[in-house]
Amino acid sequence: MNHQRRTVLKGVGSAAAVGVAVAAGLLKPTAAFAGDRSAFDAKGLDAAMKAIKATGAAESKDITVKAPDIAENGAVVPVEITSNIAGTESIAILAEKNASPMVGEFNLSNGAQGFISTRIKLANTSNVRAVVKAGSKMYTATKEVKVTIGGCGG
């Protein structure tokens, strides 16, 4: 069944493949954004946090950032964020050490599960930070992902 699913996907045209790429999170959400771009242009973590009005966000154990300890490929690092905070309205992802840390913000409509799965680019070893907006308050959590030059394994 899985094999069939893969075959079907390989068989579809390029337009459909783009749709798949978006669904799989392969495209940067920036491409799909029509709104305010200032957060994406912000240089450095502080400026990016300020741009999404998350300065001073409270550290929360109700947010789980799932990402590999060491990235297999810094260009496509799989990241899953789960927010168990009631009334989660949006989840933003920031790669702290990227020149422009803001990766994307996902707005969840009423009652949607606080879960997103995507792939992000990491320039260097960095914290991946999730910022959750719920009931006009901001919460945050991080997970470090190491980007290494590789080689020399036993």
Partner: protein, 579 residues
Amino acid sequence: MSMSRREFLQVLAAASAAGMMLDSKQVLAGNAPSNFYDMPAYGNVSLLHITDTHAQLMPIYFREPNVNIGVGGAVGKVPHIVGDKLLKYFNIQPNSIDAHAFTYLNFEQAAKTYGKVGGYAHLKTLVDKVRAARPGSLLMDSGDTWQGSGTALWTKGQDMVDASIELGVNVMAPHWEFTQGAERVMEIVNGDFKKHGIDFIAQNVVTNDFGDQVFKPYVMKSINGVQVAIIGQAFPYTPIANPRYMVPDWSFGIRDDGMQKWVNEARAKGAQIVVVLSHNGMDVDIKMASRVTGVDVIFGGHTHDGVPVPVPVKNAKGVTLVTNAGSNGKFLGVMDFDVKGGKIKGWKYRLVPVFSNLLAADAKMEALIKRVRKPYEAKLNEKLAMTEGLLYRRGNFNGSWDQLIMDAMMKVKGADAAFSPGFRWGTSLLPGDAITMEKLLDQTATTYSFSTLTEMTGATIKDVMEDVCDNLFNTDPYYQQGGDMVRVGGITYALNPYEKMGKRINDLRLHGKPLDANKKYKVAGWAPVAEGATGTPIWDVVAEYLRTVKTVAPPKLNNPRLIGVKQSDPGIADYIASV
């Protein structure tokens, strides 16, 4: 049940009384103890374990390390104990046959006395003997079997596939197997392995696109009416430590959550024993054992630690035993469980050294090995040079084999400096031994052993060294990749294992002069992981050098000056820094 050390002592005491602790003259005189391999069966479920044989079909020498430093929570703990302190910790009699098997001590003399270790024909005899007393037992292999020799390289691992079938391997987990390429792995798994009922398992390898399992995550076996689940764990950092382009569609990682899921599923399906066949490396296995519940034993490899007694690790719901079975065919792990009423009532474990002189070669396996070697004999046996000193690789910072490879690279390529990967495989040679092409390939045979010459700034050299050093000395085992420090030729330096990344490597110098961060230096290396890398195979570079020098003087080890390492640390002994 948890008093494993006491049990081990009892075994040793009994063996000693029975004459197992030989002095060298007895063995030289051929007066080998007839009971060294007498292991009465215990209980009703037995699992045999080999790991990291690195394609060594023939008996070899293998020197254990004198430097294996632990950091963070692992300082001074198993497996970071070497030499005399290891003997003391496990109560092994100095100068005994076991002392030779588990330590580097007095290596040259002891190796001459007790002879070579391993070899699949001798291993086969031992496996058969142990299994004859243990009906229903399984033989598990933690991987790194299809790489490490000339014949494994040239036959794309087929020699080892044939030998594994003949040996009677039932279940296997992978690492270097992947460097044969994804297609070749699937060809073997779905071909010879399937045909002969060998399960190739890995819960932590999934497809990049949908996260589907690539291999069976676990297998359930019935042993004398007891349900035993064996869960596979591939080396989590294969696409980072080895070329990613060889497994482009697969994702790895440690995946604790997946491991827990499969343990729970296996238990729910009636498994009375759950074990993990792992290629994590021992420190990673120990951390995993503290986080994942419901595993009875992790049978580990990768870090090539010959650990005589399993390490009990507590977790939220109980205790998991962690073993590591050494490398190069030198050891066979034998775990016997006594299972009654669905519960493990007791266990016995012995990591049995495979001494080729004490085990007759199995005729069928010997014939198989002869057959696979025949087309390559002339090439393998080419005598390149003679070594005057002991050649070995294993150890955190350098080995004489690596130094020789780097000396050759710098000379042949006209480089200022050289890097050689911190691989833990590679056999040893005694003073006076011939360096044949076969022995050179034992150190170098991979599917990507291109030699390189790169211009690097002083800053880049430091960055590379810091990066590799963090893979070894990060205090969180989940960030350790299980290799040793990159070997460095030409450039002297100081190293502090306990610092953070970026601050461990200090005082880099070339010919006594501090390295200039902006100046470019010519650095030779080999085994690049980047796609598209090319270059003369490293064995050709070193062979050229060896044919010229003919006699190799004992290489002068370029060892870093260590900062912060205490004299009393049991992970280091007989260490000589080069500056």
